[in-house]
């Protein structure tokens, strides 16, 4: 006998398949190869927030209301991020990646899936302190236009960055975090010297292709949302976008171990998930 809960679940999964197909055809965003477990939790959260009983009702709402789709997209890509998230990664990048970048007259850096930009500014600060920012161009991309707008403004609520100064110090910050920002009562704003070296642009990792001849690609805590098929697709895009010897930096719990490109990279710092292209 099949449990009722199991039957309901099968129906729900069928509805989700229809929902994803509908979004793909109506708006061109393809969530089909996202990691199903976390995708389902996000969709459930969106459905509950919209106060709708079923995913088919959510599909109806999304299909006919473009403004709601905008909001939905935002909910689908909300992640927790912060300045110098995983400070020891930035310390390792400063010690092991930047010295290699310095051997080039100019370096191109791609921050893929930059969300609201906290980690892009962290990298720019680090490069400036290392005296390399004026020889670098950072391309920060995301598929969410609202996140990109926020990233481009570079204005953050003070209460949301309370740990920034401490992370900055753990990351090996050579100056004072406050030197890089202008502060008003409730907000901080990154200085123009940092912003001038960053180009923000729309790029969808699922549907868009190779991006330049990069010396470094940073894509932290983005691949965890994709299934193995999509991970391999995106990692192939990264491999083709990197120069020989270029660096690939992943999130602290992401690994190339279970992917098709593992033989094309060697670890530079295994614990901090910094790899170098050898293939």
């Amino acid at each position: 006998m099949m449990l009722m809960a199991a039957r309901e679940n099968d129906t729900e999964n069928m509805e989700i398949d229809m929902l994803l197909a509908g979004i793909r055809r109506r708006y061109g965003y393809d969530f089909t190869n996202y990691a199903q477990a976390s995708l389902k939790r996000r969709l459930t959260r969106a459905r509950e927030k919209a106060n709708l009983p079923h995913f088919t009702a959510l599909l109806d709402h999304l299909f006919h209301d473009e403004r709601y789709f905008d909001e939905f997209l935002r909910q689908m890509s909300v992640t927790v991020t912060e300045m110098f998230r995983d400070p020891l990664f930035y310390k390792a990048a400063r010690e092991k990646v930047v010295p290699v970048l310095k051997t080039f007259p100019f370096a191109k850096i791609w921050h893929a899936g930059c969300a609201t930009g906290e980690e892009v500014y962290s990298m720019a600060m680090l490069l400036q302190e290392e005296g390399f920012l004026d020889r670098a161009r950072i391309y920060a991309t995301d598929f969410n236009k609202h996140s990109l707008d926020a990233a481009e403004k570079g204005i953050y609520a003070l209460k949301n960055i309370k740990d920034a100064a401490e992370n900055y110090r753990t990351a090996g910050g050579a100056h004072d975090f406050a030197d890089h920002v202008s502060t008003s009562y409730e907000f901080i704003k990154f200085k123009d010297a940092l912003k001038e070296r960053i180009t923000f642009s729309y790029h969808n990792l699922v549907t868009d292709g190779v991006f330049g001849e990069m010396n470094l690609i940073c894509c932290r805590n983005v691949l965890i949302y994709f299934d193995k098929t999509l991970q391999n697709h995106v990692l192939s895009t990264f491999t083709q976008s990197l120069r020989h010897g270029g660096f690939l930096c992943l999130g602290n719990k992401e690994t190339l171990n279970y992917t098709a490109v593992r033989g094309l990279f060697e670890p530079v710092d295994a614990k901090q998930r910094i790899y170098r292209k050898i293939g």
Binding site: A6, A37, R41, R45, I224, G251, N252, E254, T255, Y258
Partner: protein
């Protein structure tokens, strides 16, 4: 009676969890046949000290789960600090840095509910000591899908809130002290049919 074996264990704990895991995990033999995934609430900036420490005192391998790593027998996987831990249909892990649930990341509910969907009645869910209601909803889902639910006795738990909340949320199969939970898990893993009550 349906004939099948349990295939996986998920555990959740918060305040007092380190002490509880120090009791349960070393009591499980190296031959324990079911994979175990655990959410222990901790500071989001914590490193992998807990996994290393528990690995040193347990016959089973204890490690932090990595994204897309297979959920394999003989190993105990801990959710990394600051990441939700979920199980996919192909029995590999996926991680997420989504918003906190029940004020927590990792959240016990996220692990329990995703595991219930994959393993259904072949899943054992365990709620231990803690000062937060996370895990109640997840344990209820495990029961609704026909799984086996174990809750630490709130009277002897270091912090009674989490086990009491779980007991209030759903009928469970067993309530026990830590030592009893370890031997119950071994017993469950040995039966090939669902005759725990026999």
């Amino acid at each position: 009676m349906e004939s099948f074996a349990y295939r996986a264990v998920v555990m959740g704990t918060s305040a007092g969890g380190m002490q509880a895991l120090k009791t349960i995990l070393p009591a499980l033999p190296e031959s324990f046949p079911l994979p175990i995934a655990i959410v222990q609430h901790m500071q989001e900036s914590a490193d992998d000290f807990l996994a290393e420490y528990l690995n040193g005192i347990s016959p089973l391998t204890v490690k932090e789960a990595e994204d897309k790593e297979p959920f394999s027998p003989g190993t105990v996987y801990l959710a990394p600090a600051g990441y939700h831990l979920l199980i996919e249909a192909d029995q590999t892990f996926s991680l997420s840095v989504d918003v906190r649930e029940n004020y927590c990341c990792p959240a016990i509910d996220a692990l329990f509910e995703s595991a219930a969907e994959v393993f259904g009645e072949a899943l054992i869910g365990v709620v231990l000591t803690g000062a937060n209601g996370d895990g109640s909803h997840g344990l209820k889902t495990i029961k609704a899908r026909g799984g086996f639910a174990i809750v630490q006795n709130p009277v002897t738990a270091e912090s009674d809130y989490m086990p009491a909340a779980a007991l209030a949320a759903t009928p469970v199969d067993r309530v026990g002290d830590l030592e009893q939970i370890a031997s119950l898990l071994v017993h469950c893993s040995e039966v090939s049919e669902k005759n725990i009550y026999g």
